[in-house]
Symmetry: C3
Subunit: 311 residues, 3 copies
Amino acid sequence: MARKILIQLDGDPQPSTFDSVVAVDAGADVLLRHGNVTPDAAVPLVHGAMFTRGGDDLASTAIFVGGSDVAAAEAVFDRVRTTFFGPVRVSVLLDPAGANTTASAAVVAAGRHLPLGDPAAAATLRAVVLGGTGPVGQRVARLLARKGVAVTVASRSLSRAQQVCERIASAVPGSRLEPVLADGAITAETLRPGTPLAAALAAADLIVAAGAAGVTLLGATGRGLVGRGLVGRGLVDRVVVLIDLNAVPPAGIEGIAATDKARQEGSAVVYGALGVGGTKMKIHRAAIRRLFESNDAVLDAEELLAIGESL
Amino acid sequence: MARKILIQLDGDPQPSTFDSVVAVDAGADVLLRHGNVTPDAAVPLVHGAMFTRGGDDLASTAIFVGGSDVAAAEAVFDRVRTTFFGPVRVSVLLDPAGANTTASAAVVAAGRHLPLGDPAAAATLRAVVLGGTGPVGQRVARLLARKGVAVTVASRSLSRAQQVCERIASAVPGSRLEPVLADGAITAETLRPGTPLAAALAAADLIVAAGAAGVTLLGATGRGLVGRGLVGRGLVDRVVVLIDLNAVPPAGIEGIAATDKARQEGSAVVYGALGVGGTKMKIHRAAIRRLFESNDAVLDAEELLAIGESL
Amino acid sequence: MARKILIQLDGDPQPSTFDSVVAVDAGADVLLRHGNVTPDAAVPLVHGAMFTRGGDDLASTAIFVGGSDVAAAEAVFDRVRTTFFGPVRVSVLLDPAGANTTASAAVVAAGRHLPLGDPAAAATLRAVVLGGTGPVGQRVARLLARKGVAVTVASRSLSRAQQVCERIASAVPGSRLEPVLADGAITAETLRPGTPLAAALAAADLIVAAGAAGVTLLGATGRGLVGRGLVGRGLVDRVVVLIDLNAVPPAGIEGIAATDKARQEGSAVVYGALGVGGTKMKIHRAAIRRLFESNDAVLDAEELLAIGESL
């Protein structure tokens, strides 16, 4: 039985110890860790995975692509996949800055309270992703769109929100996406009635805050405006799920503690970053294990969500 | 029992994953991988191998020198050996860009069909190494010269071929080497009769193509001119061995597929890069195992050939 | 049971193989090795240790801080400790260039012959540290001062010696330290009677030479002046311990061989660098093992000395 070798391709000068420790705990026997990895630098490293083992042993080598720069990691991930040819390939996982595992864990959490698994019911749901153009936010929006949820992508930059919506729309045919401007913390004072953002918040079944660390996106008074429209939709009993993925105080959604995990707060259920973190870690470990079950797994956000839903 | 530690000294910024995976599969327990290694940088890394374990445990630490720049790796290899003093040393293997394992595997393949193991018989043999000044070609020429074979070193640069012949001649006293110019693909049209190259090809028992990837050195019509002189030497029944070490199409020797392995083609036996690759991998793994059997092995092309012949 | 992961933070471009081999031999299962580590670069690497494992498993991750630049390593060590918060921490060991293990091994050796373990008796002892401002010398002086020994810190630079004494005095309240100038090798010819250095050598129970490699600090005739004052202190029978930590000829203390280990030489007991080296290695290995016994060990020179004394 060949030892399980994980090739860690990280775009940062120092490859992540976080990803390495998780890999070890998920059963990788040997780590080949590389920092400063660019798409070009990745090619010979991938060749070394492809041309050293044959047959069933090929599944005992796998590749992890990470780093703090998500776009750079995606470029490496793309190059890794085009470097393979035919069956001469190994499994590969993309999780730069934990964006994929975090986003999928957030959607798993939402799915505990909302009918995301039922396409007809999911099509009646509406979500707002605050900080929706960042690495995690984009992925949350994409995963929800694939479920059929109508997603509002909020950002300080309307044009960036627009670009994210267009990219997701082309990847997920039939998806319903709306870009909106959300400039600064949303409060009863700053949120102007009648704006697309106000309408989206009033109609929302789910709010996910995926902004920068330590930036409040939704204030306490702003929260009072969320989900009011559910009444108009005849969904008086439906809970509103609020998920704040910011681990650094102050909270991204005022009133949510990082450790909140399915905490009931009136008609809302709230999650903080650490409350989602346990699921995130489980998905991460399960994904590493999954890499070594075959030589052809390609694990991006969607595959990680499927793993998370099966846990 | 001390764990087997392999210190991988690679001249490239990213140390080779190929060499690491092979080392793991050959039984190395721990890899200490270093990129950008220069001779000066190697010294403290070698000291760390010398001064940490004593007695029999010293044999459980070893050094691998690799990288895509063969000359740079040779300089590191030389420095490693001069850093040792007396019995305070560990075993070391040189295999930059796989040049040593590939060259020795090619000679092992040739030896299956030609009497390389019998000095008197080997002295009657003649070989032509196309691309004979590259990392692999040089080593093939040196290994064959040590067997007593008369070797023609062909290159686009006659002066480089001359230098290679002189270097081998000083390392292998009594060897018979001839540099020749071979400019572009050799075909019936381009090969001028009466030239040293034409004479060498006609008299050859063995042709090894060790040129750059994807460059044809010997065309189909050129192949028809190989070995004709064997008749004149009264060797009508002797096969001609053709080995193409180029893995990237088009072939280095036209008509040879990368997967050819001792394929009979008229009076010729042909090998492609992958056909030699299995032996190369076996030599590589056996060499890593050999490192950990004592603390004083120094494995360059000659030692790898001896390992290959004993498999 | 979680595998033992050691995160090796090294300030040099190539992380030390010496420290890695010792870590493997001391039971670390996985090494995560990092070169060019600055305080800023250390922070995310420490986070990766803090946020991946919980409960008892946290003790199976630890950090080693090393490198040839001692001051740079100390800055990393300081940042590592301030990055932890509360119980979310892992054990950490500082041993740049072996300075801490070497200094503590020297004091362990001295303690075999001098009553360092008895505070009242130790308070009667006097030591001179030659090369006392270097990484090892500073630590030897600090460790002896903590034992209550009166320490003379000798250096080519009186101002640097003064700074070292002040730093130790503020860390060790009540310690007795004296800076002196020692310019060049001390011999009967160069040592002027009546100077602070002459008085210190005459009164010394212990001399430790911790200067640069290959520099003689105390010549043969200079040695004749050491310990004469013990007679005046009524300590005629007391041995003088001479420890030379320089492993590269010529010796730091003339007449001591690197392999000397408690060698009797008249009324003196002498140690060379290799004579202390066995204890140094034992302390190093025991310290690595100690890291994995809890998640909150902080091992600097003092803790290593305690480990050395318990071996």
